[in-house]
Amino acid sequence: MNKTNLFQSLWALLLIALVFLFGGMLFWSLYHIPEYSDGLSTMVTQHMPNSGVKSEVTAILLNFRGYDTLLEIAVLFAALLGAYRISPIRLDKSLVQSNPVILSLTQYLVPIIILVSGYILWLGGHAAGGAFQAGAVLASAGVLLVIVRPESLNLKHTIYLNFILIMGLLVFTLIAFLPILTGGTILEYPRKWAGTMILLIEAASTLSIGFTLMLLFAGGRPPAGDN
């Protein structure tokens, strides 16, 4: 056995030991978690009337733990900025063979997907749904177009596209800092306006998330356009 092999088997042994140790620790901590726990659900139920929406998950995402979501949208934007640093992508030829079935199916599917996205956005107020789900669905329409008919998207690196991409973060930040003017704290929506504000944030975020995910799929910055 030469030196490299010895090193590799030592490394493998170390890895196995590490994984067993780590796994053991995780299982051990799982064993000690109380079997029944309400967690924070009673607290959430208590504060639901103040949140402005009827869906618990939406209330947590955009009201109770709005700070998380604000940073999350910032992370999404940061990932896009990272992708933008790479040279511009080419978006002029289809990735699939020209095929009448795929072309016409895309033609029918894209409007329906956009409609569903809007419906899911609206649903977020009172049931499972919201900005991220709607944004992901919207992105699926974009991904479909990027694959099948990129020329019909006509994506250009213009100020309008940049505005759509930053809109979610911009609106969310503005609304988050708005309460400071009236002496409140960050992300403390006035009770009367909470529902409207959440819908506004979600609508802006949906567009931004949809376009961001589509551009991340496409691979980065679209070719430059005349502003």
Binding site: E35, S41, V57, G82, A83, F132
Partner: protein, 100 residues
Amino acid sequence: MNLPFFYACFGILIFLIGLIGLAIKPNILKKLISLNVMGSGIFLVFVALAKRAGLSADPVPHAMVLTGLVVSVSATALGVILAIRVKQIYGKAELPEDSR
């Protein structure tokens, strides 16, 4: 041992599988897939343990998983874009072997 814990155990197993993959696969794409497998395991643990609250599951872990999903998607996308760039420059999407 009830059902939430049963699922959480499998979540930990999935996480460990991803951890091993992350450590032993030199290909960047496989590392990214391993990271996603690890993430899926963590999400499974979260969602499973949320069910401990009884009939209506605790919504806070659900919201956290939703947050995590988007972050994981964006991180993976950026990782894949960088992997493509590495492949363009070095000819293969692999990390260099240890220099020893």
